[in-house]
């Protein structure tokens, strides 16, 4: 399927904050969130539409690579957007945000759009980090902020799509050099001929959607 742009995202944050679940939740609607099943994935892609343009999001989870410095820094550099995730029921994951952010800022290109996500908003009773704290942190560091729940799918769409919108706006403003693929942005193939067979997870998604 042809796209106008491809945006590469990475998901960062402490282990266990639900990064891969968010990713699966967003990229594949067929996996419905169920309370007795935790399921995630480390890579996913999905097509969205912004401003009438087809935009493909490719999302890479960076989990498990923290021990290698070369890997983290490369990941940051190759992405146009980053979702920085913490768990609202675990204060420590919020406290580590500064470190994550420093890392991201140091290694990424300066235009990378970072969205702060407080995940597990469904677990209100176990909340340890107030929403206002997340908002304040985001404001202080110039991030977009949202609380999501991979379990209930609340705000998941918005988180990914708003990030994409911000990147898209930056492209329109000419901030991103779109001819430079190292920025995590790719211009789509001009012709969709090679993609005549409908496919990809977005195809699967449609198929899945059909089953609903």
């Amino acid at each position: 399927m042809a796209y106008a742009y491809l945006f590469k995202y990475i998901i960062i944050g402490d282990t266990g904050v639900g990064k891969s679940c968010l990713l699966l939740q967003f990229t594949d609607k067929r996996f419905q969130p169920v309370h007795d099943l935790t399921i995630g994935v480390e890579f996913g892609a999905r097509m969205i539409t912004i401003d009438g343009k087809q935009i493909k999001l490719q999302i890479w989870d960076t989990a498990g690579q923290e021990s290698f410095r070369s890997i983290t820094r490369s990941y940051y550099r190759g992405a146009a957007g980053a979702l920085l995730v913490y768990d609202i029921t675990r204060r420590d994951t919020f406290n580590h945000l500064t470190t994550w952010l420093e890392d991201a800022r140091q290694h990424s290109n300066s235009n990378m759009v970072i969205m702060l996500i407080g995940n597990k908003s469904d677990l209100e009773s176990r909340r340890e980090v107030k929403k206002e704290e997340g908002e304040a942190f985001a404001r202080e560091h110039g991030l977009i902020f949202m609380e999501t729940s991979a379990k209930t799918a609340s705000n998941v769409e918005e988180a990914f799509i708003n990030t994409a919108k911000e990147i898209y706006e930056k492209i329109q403003e000419g901030v991103f050099d779109i001819n430079n693929e190292a920025n995590g942005i790719k211009i789509g193939p001009q012709h969709a001929a090679t993609n005549s067979t409908m496919g990809g997870s977005q195809g699967g998604q449609q198929a899945g959607g059909g089953c609903c």
Binding site: Q58, F68, S70, S74, D177, G200, S201, G208
Partner: protein, 1044 residues
């Protein structure tokens, strides 16, 4: 909750609960009915595979019987069957996603073993997917990455087959090491690292013997190709247009170095040997180091010396693996060109292999082909010797018996030797692996010999005095430190020396042999060559048109400190210290030229100090910045950080002069073991802080209501101190005392009236920030409402006056610091005199100091003008001589303009005493000038006689200097005024031309030393500096500092 999860099952839902064994059985049924993929059943199959994933994960978390069923029915085989039918992208993607999810989410070790047990996974790994499809590629490589994260000493057996010499996970992955998509390359690196991390000797032996040479040689070639592209990018750059691309290439190089370092840090010794050999002999030496000395473009694959210096610095900053960096440093510091030529001869008779030269060449075959060949070979060998294990053991035995204890003894050198030996590995060999084996043998035979050579060499080096041995690379480094025309290369050389001296992998002895500074190491000598060159950089930086960037200067200071500070002792020789003092003195002169009374000068001065203290140079970050690879530029339009380029315009030149002065001053104080007593201008510990309790008896307090921006109101008393305004509330314990609720610097304050309320003032105090990009952050932004408009006016006047006085006092401290004459104290102390604050026009204070066009209030020279105009009978000036900011060679025109000023003011003042015109930036608007004259009437008392004295002092010294220097018309002018005895010696700017032009000669230094001895630099004369002395005695006035 439960219901929702089921909704999608829709039509096919025979089972009520999709997460159940029953449902899996149903899915199995679907698979058996649809073994062939057709257009009709494709969607059904995809959905079936997808839901099987879900059930399996659920089973792993909830019900193990699910897994049993999956294995029992061998359902993986169905997947493979579907895959092999070339069923198209749609199905492939689904299968890969399923596999990804399966391996990602499985938490039980046993479930994992089940999944891996029947080799299906390996069949999937080697399946030829359509990798031209970016999504398939991405899912595939993620799948491999997920698998690699599951590798450990147990699971590795499912992937690495000792008997068939197969390790598909690894070999398939590395084939994509140079994939155009960066995320794929990153995944490949992750996979390789995860593999090397597994401590399984057999597997690692396999990796080394069958894949290491092909992979590393191709990797090294890949890195080198990027380097050549990077170099081309630098060469072809015009007007900094290539910066975007350049920074990517630099980042790519850094990625590679970090990756190499990650491999080396895993510390798998025999892999490291191979990698070190390739890096050293195929990349770093032939491409980077060789490029340092070759002038002519003989080889087309040469890169520029500056690029090579830059890249080498990165190597030393990032990689710390001892055998690698030590050998590399040894060549750079001790080696000569024979490392490139001799090798041919040596290897010629040592090995039949003919291509032993250290050369950056392309591997003869692609990685994929090498792997294929090696695999086939492995198969053949496997037939002969069924168990690879034996091979490894045999080899090791042989090595052990041959080398024995010698190897251990020479472990450090071993790699070097082995790498030298394996240099014989031929490019023309068909399979590099074979070469590798040959090397191992020749390795053994050459080892002893090589060692002797090495020892001889080092012995010889020690015997001979420094410098006698030919060291072309080191010579190149030292000569590149010359900054006469530019500091393009010098910056890189300093970085390289810094990086080498900080490298954990370099034996300190190596550095000490050529007296390079090793941090935290006791020593009593230092490299004179280096120190002299570094001091010369400092001296050049202090020249008005010096081409030394601030980063270069800062790094020079770092290296000098490292060289001459041994523990707490400074071992610098007097002569070098004298040269350094000379440079510092020059920087002082340079700054004096820029000293202006303008408000912005104070802000710049304090801002530069904050920046210097808060952001010390980080060499690693500096060497990550691609922009310094392009020739140094002056324009800020490039977006290059100020410290990494030359100044542009007068403001930046001023900033630079300030910073150079700070750096050299701090260096000089540190080397002489003296504490800094004058900087920062305000120390935080001297300031009033929130919650301090003050005795406010007899203080002027004005009651007011403070209404902050968000509407919070508080009743407070406003008190104005020397440097600060504070808001207090009465102390409950002691009458007449107050608790400070807020304190802010007057100098950062903005006061304005409130339009429709004559009783109110709007006050904003900004936080001083060292980051010029940050928005000015107000620490206070509030409306102050007073009882009536009279009190309001009083408050306004007091604040405004306080602001001016606070700033003026600081300016005077700067003047004192620069050994410039300071205004008499009365006006400063006069702050408390009520008469002073009488008739000031408000509009004057409404201007924001951060407002546009440097709205300037507090100009010392400005005052002088006004003052002279009013009291032209007195020949005193309250001003210092802010001589022109132009270069010294323009002194003739300067004199002319000075004279004209003189005639205008109608005074018989020496030209140097009259305020010089400020040709470059005029910060004086008409409006300000008018205000100033009004103010000066009320503020400035007639000047004291001592002023005259100190001024003529200055002239007299200038006069005296004339004797030494050739006389100039300007000096003649000043000389006329010489009537008083000299108390202060200020080396006039005329002096600067001499150190600038000549090299650091001993004689000159002596002269400077003389001058310094005569002049108590840091102790201003009592009469002219009375103010200062006064201030220092008076703790109330001493309070000054920047709030941070």
């Amino acid at each position: 909750m439960f219901g929702r999860s089921r909704s999608w099952v829709g039509g096919q839902g025979k089972s009520k609960n999709i997460h159940s064994l029953d449902h899996l059985k149903y899915m199995y049924h679907v698979l058996t009915k649809n073994t062939t993929v057709t257009d009709h059943n494709r969607n059904l199959l995809v959905e079936t595979i997808r839901s099987i994933t879900e059930i399996l994960i659920w089973g792993d978390q909830n019900d193990s019987s699910v897994f049993d069923f999956f294995l029992e029915k061998n359902m993986f085989a169905f997947f493979l069957n579907i895959l092999r039918q070339k069923s198209g992208r749609y199905v492939c993607v689904q299968l890969l996603q399923t596999l990804n999810i399966l391996f990602e989410n499985i938490s039980h070790e046993t479930s994992l073993y089940y999944l891996l047990s029947n080799n299906h996974v390996n069949s999937i790994i080697v399946h030829k997917f359509d990798f031209s499809d970016e999504e398939i590629m991405a899912y595939y490589i993620s799948f491999l990455k997920t698998l690699s994260l599951k590798l450990n000493n147990h699971t590795v057996h499912f992937f690495y087959n000792e008997h068939t010499n197969d390790f598909a996970l690894y070999t398939e992955a590395i084939k994509f090491f140079n994939h155009p998509e960066s995320m794929v390359r990153i995944a490949v690196r992750t996979i390789t690292l995860n593999v090397y991390k597994v401590d399984n000797q057999h597997m690692l032996h396999y990796i080394r013997d069958k894949t290491a040479v092909p992979y590393f040689s191709n990797l090294v070639w890949f890195i080198g190709s990027h380097v050549i592209e990077l170099d081309k990018c630098v060469q072809t750059d015009e007007e900094h247009k290539n910066r975007g691309k350049l920074s990517d290439l630099v980042a790519e190089h850094l990625d590679h170095l970090h990756y190499l370092n990650d491999i080396l840090t895993i510390n798998c010794e025999f892999l490291n040997d191979v990698l070190t050999d390739h890096l050293l002999n195929r990349l770093f030496l032939p491409l980077y180091v060789y490029s340092l000395v070759t002038q002519e473009q003989t080889e087309d694959r040469k890169i520029n010396p500056q690029v090579s210096l830059y890249l080498l610095s990165q190597v030393f900053l990032i990689i710390h693996y001892q055998p690698l960096v030590h050998s590399l440093a040894d060549v750079i510091l001790n080696g000569d060109l024979s490392v490139f030529t001799l090798q041919t001869e040596q290897s010629a008779h040592k090995s039949s292999s003919n291509a032993g030269v250290r050369r950056f060449t392309k591997p003869l075959e692609s990685l994929e082909r090498s792997l294929e060949m090696s695999r086939q070979r492995g198969r053949k060998r496997a037939q002969k010797r069924p168990n690879y294990k034996n091979v490894g053991e045999e080899e090791e035995e042989k090595r052990g018996s041959d080398e024995g204890p010698e190897e251990e003894k020479e472990k450090a050198k071993g790699t070097e030797a082995s790498s030298k030996a394996s240099r014989t590995s031929g490019d023309k060999e068909e399979i590099e692996m074979v070469v590798m084996e040959k090397c191992r043998i020749s390795d053994v035979s050459t080892l002893t010999e090589q060692n002797i050579t090495d020892e001889e060499k080092s012995a010889a080096a020690a015997a001979r005095s420094e410098g006698q041995k030919s060291r072309p690379f080191l010579d190149m480094l030292y000569s590149a430190l010359d900054c006469d025309t530019e500091d393009y290369q010098a910056l890189f050389v300093l970085c390289l020396l810094y990086a080498m001296s900080h490298s954990k992998g370099i034996n300190p002895e190596l550095l000490e042999r050529i007296q390079l500074p090793v941090p935290s190491q006791e020593r009593n000598t230092y490299s004179q060559v280096l120190v002299e060159r570094v001091i010369r950089i400092m001296s050049q930086a202090a020249q008005p048109d010096g081409k030394v960037r601030l980063a270069t200067l800062e790094l020079s200071c770092l290296l000098l400190k490292q060289s001459v500070l041994s523990g707490s002792q400074c071992i610098i020789k007097d002569i070098h210290l004298a040269c350094l003092e000379g440079a510092r003195e020059e920087s002082l002169h340079l700054l004096r030229q820029f000293y202006k009374g303008e408000e912005i000068f104070l802000d710049m001065f304090e801002d530069e100090y904050r920046s210097m203290m808060s952001k010390p140079l980080n060499v690693e970050y500096l060497m990550m910045d691609a922009s310094i690879l392009l020739p140094p530029t002056g324009t800020p339009l490039t977006g290059i950080d100020f410290v990494k380029r030359l100044p542009c315009g007068d403001v930046e030149r001023t900033r630079r002069a300030i910073r150079v002065f700070f750096m050299l001053r701090s260096l000089s104080l540190q080397l002489q073991g003296e504490p800094e007593t004058q900087l920062p201008l305000t120390r935080p510990e001297d300031l009033i802080k929130t919650d301090d309790v003050l005795d406010l008896n007899n203080s002027d307090l004005i009651a007011c209501m403070v209404v902050s921006k968000d509407g919070v109101q508080a009743q407070r008393f406003l008190a104005v101190d020397v440097y600060q305004m504070s808001l207090v509330e009465p102390d409950s314990k002691r009458l007449g005392w107050g608790v400070v609720k807020f304190a802010g610097l007057l100098q950062d304050m903005q006061v304005s009236g409130v339009e429709d309320d004559s009783r109110a003032l709007n006050i904003i105090i900004h936080k001083p920030t060292s980051n010029p990009h940050a928005k000015p952050m107000p620490i206070l932004q509030a409306n102050f409402i007073f009882a009536d408009h009279i009190r309001c006016i009083i408050a306004k006047q007091r604040l405004a006056k306080g602001r001016i006085q606070a700033r003026r006092m600081k300016m005077q401290r700067i003047a004192a610091l620069l050994d410039l004459p300071v205004q008499p104290s009365t006006e400063v102390l006069g702050f408390s005199q009520p008469s002073v604050t009488s008739s000031l026009p408000f509009r004057f204070y409404d201007q924001s100091r951060r407002g546009p066009a440097f709205a300037s209030v507090d100009k010392v020279p400005g005052f002088a003008v006004a003052h002279i105009a009013q009291h032209n009978s007195t020949s005193s000036s309250s001003s210092v001589s802010p001589s022109s900011s132009g270069p010294p060679d323009s002194c003739d025109s300067l004199t002319a303009s000075n004279t004209s000023t003189q005639s205008q003011t109608g005074l018989a003042l020496a030209p140097s005493l009259t305020p010089a015109p400020q040709p470059t930036i005029s910060l004086l608007s008409d409006n300000d000038a008018e205000t100033l004259s009004v103010e000066s009437l009320t503020l400035l008392p007639p000047a004291d006689p001592p002023r005259l004295r100190s001024f003529s002092t200055q002239s007299s010294i200038q006069d005296e200097d004339e004797v030494a220097n050739t006389s100039r018309p300007e000096d003649d002018c000043t000389g006329v005024r010489d009537a008083q005895s000299q108390d202060i010696s200020i080396i006039p700017e005329e002096d600067e031309s001499s150190p600038e032009s000549g090299p650091l000669l001993a004689g000159e230094t002596e002269d400077l030393m003389q001058a310094q001895r005569e002049e108590p630099v840091t102790q201003p004369e009592a009469d002219s500096m009375g103010v200062l002395a006064n201030q220092e005695d008076n703790p109330d006035l001493e309070e000054e500092t920047a709030i941070d």
